[in-house]
């Protein structure tokens, strides 16, 4: 039984426009998949549909079945808010592109992190404080005590994204959705965060759905990708195959653009 089974997923806007249509894929426990596409491809909406978090007015059709160990097997499309709340966090969590908006600006980082940790593990007081510091250490934040006392705006973008990852991991989800988690970061920080995510997902045996517009970034963290364009899946397969022998013309243009951008740098540095 797959952890996530998406079949014929469609998303319509309030005006009835088809934003995502007939997207299907499965994700086994501990497996990874990349969703790649440019703006307007529907990649983020697909992620939101899986979380049952589509903006009001949008409707999902098709089937999204989430079957996390220890939790009831749930059909997300059409599920009640109460069912979904039980799943979010424990079955699936998400890390967004912009960590500044994902964190409450008026709450110290430590307290924000304490909330899911306390809820998940039933910790309080000193034990909870220790768990917060441990969680911050796990995402390789130096000076976890200082970070825990800081407000989100007092730490750097890379540190904020690490905190956001720590919060996502606090509930020990079976599936982590990362929606362009490194797009807003500097390249060196991006490399570090990708490595961190890679290590943590492996260590915990989580499944990962990684969403990006950047083939090179996706190839660092997943082996398999689904290429989306205008809300439709145009090609799926191993990253290596797709990069070396794209079958769909759109994928080919995407790969060519990426290669064209890279080639002057490759000439210099290789």
């Amino acid at each position: 039984m797959s952890l996530l089974d998406v079949t014929g997923l469609g998303v319509r806007s309030g005006q009835g426009r088809e934003l995502v249509s007939d997207v299907s894929f499965t994700l086994e426990a501990g497996a990874r998949l990349g969703l790649i596409g440019e703006s307007g491809s529907g990649k983020s909406l697909t992620a939101l549909a899986i979380m049952g978090l589509l903006p009001t007015g949008m409707t999902a059709s098709g089937s999204v079945v989430l079957d996390a160990p220890g939790l009831p097997r749930t059909q997300i499309t059409g599920a009640t808010e109460r069912d979904l709340n039980g799943l979010r966090g424990r079955a699936v969590t998400v890390v967004f592109q912009e960590p500044l908006t994902a964190l409450d600006p008026l709450m110290r980082v430590g307290r924000q992190l304490a909330e899911p940790l306390g809820r998940r593990h039933g910790l309080r007081g000193a034990a909870l404080r220790r768990a917060v510091v441990a969680a911050l250490e796990e995402v390789r934040l130096t000076e976890p005590d200082r970070i825990a006392r800081a407000y989100p705006h007092e730490i750097s973008g890379g540190q904020r994204q690490r905190v956001a990852i720590a919060m996502a991991l606090a509930c020990e989800p079976a599936l982590l959705i990362a929606d362009e988690p490194t797009t807003a970061l500097d390249v060196t920080v991006q490399a570090e965060v990708l490595a961190l995510l890679d290590g943590l997902v492996s260590a915990r045996g989580m499944a990962l759905l990684f969403i990006s517009h950047d083939l090179a970034v996706i190839s660092r963290i997943t082996d398999h990708v689904l290429v989306l364009r205008d809300g439709r899946a145009v090609e799926a397969g191993a990253v290596r195959d797709i990069v070396n022998a794209p079958r769909h013309p759109y994928t080919r243009s995407l790969v060519d653009s990426a290669r064209e951008l890279d080639s002057p740098l490759d000439r210099i540095t290789l």
Binding site: E38, S39, S156, G157, D186, V187, T188, V189, Q190, A191, L194, H213, D214, L215, A216, V217, S219, R220, V239, R240, V243, N244, S253, L254, V255, S257, A258, R259, E260, L261, D262, P264, L265, D266, R267, I268, T269
Partner: protein
């Protein structure tokens, strides 16, 4: 974003000596270039009052035809350096020179000449175009503000110059009648470039001009900028953290780290054989496609 302060005389005006003392000739740092620089930063520093310096002792020269990349990460001082080079902020130490003369933000005549020759393109094509103006009016703004609306000897009126600029960036002339929100991100960036080149400047300072765009759009906009450099005698100065774009577009690269230039020179040698550890880390961090093998 720093709060905008009017250029009109401020209390600090009295602190600046009326005449620039003749400083001993400071040799250009990087390389001895034959051609005189259009725009030059000489040992500039910048700090907000009571805060750690944002820029320290930065020197860089923009010479005609040599496109320059300012590379570095957020907080390295790239954007501040760009604001200094754009004459939006005054350095707290050192000088910015335009055609060899120190740039004085209060000298109207010089600033007019400067604005005409140094134009800019921003990162975010959504925030850089006034949503309430039609594209034609947006693109014509430099012409109107710099008093270039009178018919040129060549006989081109404002409308014609706007249409010509739109054509150069690959947009139809009727785009002038529409509003920015009717265009995609890539098209909007083209509109911003049209505005920047409409008064035929010599230098274009671009702040992360393609990082907000999709990959395929990115290639086309980079091509456009490269083409402008070749056909319009425009020297492009680009602030970027995207080394691939830098390698594609710029001959000269300066690497900024924590407000200092740690390395500068030919792009090929700076990125190809970085001598500073930070540059090396930067080059190593660039995500690459899996190789064809």
């Amino acid at each position: 974003m720093t709060p905008p302060t009017p250029e009109t005389p401020s209390p600090s005006a009295s602190e600046i000596p009326p005449e620039i003392p003749s400083t001993p000739e400071i040799p250009p740092t990087s390389e001895v270039s034959e051609t005189p620089a259009i725009l030059e930063a000489r040992q500039v520093g910048f700090a907000y009052r009571g805060a750690a310096p944002v820029l320290t002792d930065v020197s860089i020269a923009i010479t005609p035809g040599r496109s320059v990349a300012l590379v570095g990460e957020s907080g390295a001082g790239k954007t501040t350096l760009l604001r200094l080079l754009l004459g939006l902020t005054r350095p707290t130490s050192g000088q910015v020179l335009f055609d060899g003369a120190p740039l004085s933000l209060r000298d109207r005549g010089q600033m007019r000449e400067f604005r005409r020759n140094v134009q800019t393109v921003f990162q975010d094509p959504y925030s850089s175009l006034d949503p309430r103006q039609r594209v034609g009016r947006i693109v014509a703004e430099p012409l109107r503000s710099l008093g270039l609306t009178a018919a040129q000897p060549g006989g081109s009126r404002v409308d014609h110059r706007v249409a010509a600029a739109l054509e150069v960036v690959g947009l139809p002339a009727d785009a002038a009648l529409r509003y920015p929100h009717e265009f995609s991100g890539g098209q909007r960036q083209r509109i911003a470039i049209a505005r920047a080149i409409v008064c035929e400047p010599r230098v274009l300072l671009a702040d992360e001009p393609v990082s907000a765009l999709d990959v395929s759009t990115r290639v086309r906009v980079v091509d456009l900028l490269a083409e402008l450099g070749e056909s319009h005698g425009l020297t492009v100065v680009m602030v970027s953290h995207d080394l691939a774009v830098v390698a594609m577009l710029c001959r000269h690269t300066a690497v900024l780290e924590r407000g200092r230039i740690v390395e500068q020179g030919d792009t090929a040698s700076v990125l190809g054989s970085p001598s500073h550890p930070y540059t090396r880390r930067l080059v190593d961090s660039v995500p690459r496609l899996p190789s064809g093998a």
